[in-house]
Symmetry: C2
Subunit: 344 residues, 2 copies
């Protein structure tokens, strides 16, 4: 067995120096440092780290522990962190262990990260039974997806009961989060009636609960109206087999005044229990695993093109294709042949 | 040299029995039977035919001939065939040679084909200088795209001056056609003002000309109103560098009464001349070639998964992933390793 890594969260150990079995045991024991180190390992794109990460995930895939995975999407300013703080603290008070992860589509471009500033969830971040992890930055959404998905599995193995996966509602990150969540919440702000069109139909179809936040003070009537609008819109959607009567549903809350938070939790528990009973819970997890398997293969195949010497070969062929010296099909055949090792 | 294939349009010759150089010469000489046979060859997915097709495309990629490629999209009933008939006959009268091809997204599912019934273009189909080819059926859109793209290049090598590429305006087929056209026309029917939302913004952004058909009889006022609506909508789009002032533009026509057809042609000629002068014409072709190169690589990579024994391997892994026996990443790694021949 290799020597254990230090407590630093960067996996700077020499190749194969990491004791994956020990790390798996520590994560399983609920050791927060080990969990943080494990997440850092799955976030690394170094080849040897990747191998270790796959071994770690494999070692932890049979713990039998299962958390409830809650996806949460909403545009900036809608009150996601305030809701996570209120909702998370309520869960902690119920004796549950809560992990908060994030998929940040913007970090790929800007290098910034949501959840980076833990003071956004001041109370929750101080709780021993809460684990908050910012989104990894500087990676493309595909990479973020894999890492978050593996971080979810790590938190699950570490014994967290509820895993909240937050994302900013832009681009394709909702799909990413929905595909790794058991229940998907869409958080909205009160708005005028014509705002309804702002939420894409595809996003609405993914939501299990639509929660209109800021139902307090002056905004309460607008929040109720927005909620009614979405209730109406949800009724127009095709009934999904995984929903009991009344779901997906729209509701209001005030994360700031902590009103409506308990109702959200009651609805989540009801929906989860129903889906478990009907077999939809496990079926959805199985579908999601298949989806990610397909995504991993696709990404792995395309990643081959980014590796030298193929990368330079593709670039040189691209120039010849652009000038018409080679046809697109002929050039592609050369690339595929190189991948098959048909060429010297 | 091998023996020449017979005149049958199915490539039923034995492997390597086809004389590709001779076929290339015949296509280049404008032999219609050879052209039809060549298109049938590029439509085949048999491995040996595919190799022959790549050799043929390569042999014909340096003829220096260049047709004007016109993409045409519109929903069913909008009058595409009537327009192609009127527009095509006008071009024939100008002494031009016209080829008509189709990308039919529905054929992948239904096995049906548009343009299958040549009587839809009764006059044009009887012209010696017109070549009409129905969409290949029973293939996925990716396959249809490659085949149509190669058919376009074959028609070009055969000396056609104008190649019309028709598609039904549903799904992603517009993008496919726009990516193989020099000029992209969107054909619309007169409609109420709120119909504007029926055309997706992305489709509108691809269009160089929006043509509102059926500007005749009772429908003329509605056609003019629809045209004005789209003119307004086009002005709101960001100015593209490849457009002179006034483009993209909306206009009306009546394919039935053959009014407005000449104006469409004048606008196409003006736009083409301007783009050629400014270098945008060649730049767009180069970009399109690069795009198709990327698509061909992607499709080729994914096609590996459909071949045995990998296909069965993937299916068996999928089951293990669904039941949780394997993680998605671990299973994907096995597939990628098998592709790298790392496994026995």
């Amino acid at each position: 067995m290799g020597t254990k890594c230090g407590g630093r969260s960067r996996p700077e150990c020499r190749k194969s120096a990491m004791d994956i079995e020990q790390l798996a045991r520590d994560v399983c024991d609920g050791n927060r440092r080990a969990l943080a180190r494990a997440i850092t390992l799955v976030e690394s794109s170094r080849d040897d780290h990747r191998r270790d990460a796959i071994a770690l995930m494999d070692a932890l895939s049979h713990t039998g522990k299962q958390a409830l995975r809650l996806g949460l999407s909403g545009t900036p300013g809608v009150g996601k962190s305030t809701l996570i703080e209120s909702f998370g603290m309520m869960l902690i008070r119920e004796g549950l262990r809560v992990a908060v992860l994030a998929v940040d589509p913007s970090s790929a471009r800007t290098g910034g990260s949501i959840l980076g500033d833990k003071t956004r969830m001041e109370l929750l971040s101080r709780e021993a039974n809460a684990f908050i992890r910012p989104s990894p930055s500087r990676t493309e959404l595909g990479g973020v997806a894999r890492r978050t998905r593996e971080a979810v599995a790590l938190c699950e193995a570490a014994g967290y009961d509820i895993i909240l996966i937050e994302t900013v509602g832009v681009g394709q990150s909702e799909t990413v989060v929905a595909q790794m969540s058991d229940i998907f919440l869409l958080l909205l702000a009160p708005a005028g009636g014509d705002e309804l069109q702002g939420v894409k139909r595809g996003i609405m179809e993914m939501a299990d609960l639509i929660v209109v936040n800021k139902a307090d003070g002056d905004l309460e009537p607008a929040a109720k109206r927005t909620c009614a609008d979405y209730s109406g819109a949800l009724r127009l959607l095709r009934k999904r087999p995984q929903d009991p009567d009344g779901f997906p549903k729209a509701m209001t809350c005030s994360a700031l005044q902590e009103s409506g938070i308990t109702q959200i939790w009651e609805d989540i528990k009801f929906l989860t229990a129903w889906r478990r009973e009907q077999g939809h819970f496990d079926a959805r997890r199985a579908e999601q695993a298949e989806y990610w398997f397909g995504q991993e293969i696709r990404q792995g195949l395309l990643a081959q093109l980014d590796r030298e010497p193929l990368r330079s070969h593709v670039l040189s062929l691209t120039k010849q294709v652009a000038t018409g010296t080679l046809t697109p099909s002929g050039a592609a055949e050369q690339v595929l042949a190189a991948l098959r090792h048909d060429t010297p």
